[in-house]
Symmetry: C2
Subunit: 328 residues, 2 copies
């Protein structure tokens, strides 16, 4: 294992996603002083992705006018099941060929720095927990709504990984057993009802059925480059169709939140991910109201349901927290 | 607080339910050497119930030819939200008037013995964890299917209560958002699909719709005193209608199990309660198969799904474990 330079002031957080790799440099006060992004290109194979992570880290260091010697450690959030102790990605369903990849060892070889890896949603909730919630609550459930839906659990002040390091797979909690087909093969998973993918499918199906929406004016009939931010713009310009779909997705997120509060009774539920970042103002009141409606009496007392302010930086912040904690 | 007699060999576990109170005497090897049962009669008020608990405990001691001096402590499982530290029942939805009841203090006054209280499903999973699983797994989810459905969580070797001591309310996890109405006011809760109450309703509705079943031959057209054991008898005599309803309930229990494994990734899921006790042979294979079908790849690896052998004694066993642990 590479040795940490205990005098080094900075740490790096890396968010490895199926589409992009994001690196952020953090100073001693856990402030992000610069980020770099490269595309992941998982189709080029595991080794190529590892080289791209290395390049993303080196670019971030260079952009910040630093050298690798000033970096104490790197914390990486990777998709799928991650064995923190072994430093390996056990499997990552969205990245072909990623099975038992010794990512920690490989990156340490490439960078000459200590590297620590965790599941991406675990690391995101860790980032929010330490940076935003100041490690105060005992238990936190993180719900991240983007292309898919993932979760992370802080229980009794610690990340909770479970027996196979897969805890927090809240996106595949069945909420509507006769609902729409999910990518996993089941029906009515939370992810199949309220992820960006599900929302976009509902919008495209509606347009096909003759629904009128400003989105076709904005982006053309095939909605080429549709993004969550476009939905916000359409709603603010009075698009009832999009408004209805987003309200329904928010209701499902509220029901899933209530399920998780009933099961785990955390002190805080924090919502993040691209969909929440773009549409917090439109969705949060419906989410909170629905969750309070569906939770058992007594369980919600004093429980906070909040949107994270870290947005897309939750992952790299968590990576930095992990790197800092492991080299202190 | 009453002082424990450290030389006393025996402890008592009490399972306080909405219908009946069960007390069991346990020896130093955690073997149950005798039980006593009285009805709860919650309509007579909180004080009357506390006196009935006292009587049930005294009767158990007398039946075993012991005296209270030979008892080290009493552990009580109570329905609803319980504050272990304060020794109070915060609220119990199924028992009128039970709000902030200082049950520990009251029972200690009545019995002159140390008393410890916990939520009934927590105590049941604790009993199964220590007595059946020998405290080996790190994390266990208990699913108890009876009149309602409750759960208990052992996480990192400890009971997990959550922020308001209500964690484990798995019966009100929404699984079928457009499903049948639940007693809690929502639709499609796990409890509204697979509890004994739900199963009996489905059977009665089927009979009304002209379904043929051996149950009416066995018990008359109104199914007066229908019990879970009657369903087992009917299935074993070839009753296709009852068989179908039980298979469907088992599928829902399997889906809920998969949800919990996806969220918490425990090492063991243990199923108990009256319905499982009566119908384990009919239900368990469907439960396990459905859970494996619905869980995410990788999460189920090495995870055991088992029926508890403690049956109705899980609660009193857990009470004994708690009493023993707190006076050691």
């Amino acid at each position: 294992m590479a040795e940490a330079n205990s005098k080094a002031e900075f740490v790096i957080g890396v968010d490895l996603g199926g589409t992009k790799i994001l690196s952020g440099i953090f100073n001693g006060s856990l402030e992000c002083i610069g980020t770099t992004k490269v595309s992941t290109k998982p189709q080029r194979g595991v080794d190529a992705v590892i080289e791209r992570i290395e390049r993303c880290v080196r670019d971030a260091v260079d952009e910040a006018d630093l050298s690798l010697k000033q970096i104490a450690a790197v914390g990486v959030g990777a998709p799928g099941a991650v064995d923190f102790g072994a430093g390996s990605v056990i499997f990552a369903p969205n990245m072909e060929g990623w099975k038992d990849v010794p990512l920690k060892k490989e990156l340490e070889k490439h960078l000459g720095l200590p590297v620590f890896i965790e599941n991406d949603c675990n690391i995101a909730v860790l980032g929010v927990y330490v940076s935003e919630l100041k490690s105060k609550p005992r238990s936190v459930v993180g719900i991240f709504v983007g292309t898919g839906i993932g979760g992370g659990l802080i229980l009794n002040g610690e990340l909770f990984g479970g027996y196979n390091h897969t805890a927090g797979e809240i996106g595949h909690m069945v909420v509507d057993v006769n609902g729409p087909k999910c990518g996993c093969g089941n029906k009515g998973c939370f992810e199949a009802l309220a992820s960006r993918t599900a929302i976009f499918q509902q919008i495209k199906a509606g347009i096909k059925d003759g629904e009128k929406t400003l989105l076709t004016e904005m982006l053309g009939d095939d909605l080429g480059d549709l993004r969550s931010g476009d939905l916000r713009k359409a709603i603010r310009r009075g698009d009832k169709f999009v408004d209805g779909i987003i309200a329904r997705a928010a209701e499902y997120i509220g029901i899933a939140t209530a399920n998780l509060v009933n099961i785990l009774n955390p002190e805080v539920v924090v919502l993040g991910g691209g969909v929440i970042e773009a549409l917090a103002e439109e969705m949060m009141s419906v989410i909170v109201e629905t969750a309070r409606d569906y939770a058992m009496p007594g369980t919600m007392k004093g429980v906070e349901i909040v949107a994270s302010k870290l947005g897309d930086n939750a992952g790299i912040t968590g990576g930095a927290v992990l790197a800092r904690r492991e080299t202190r």
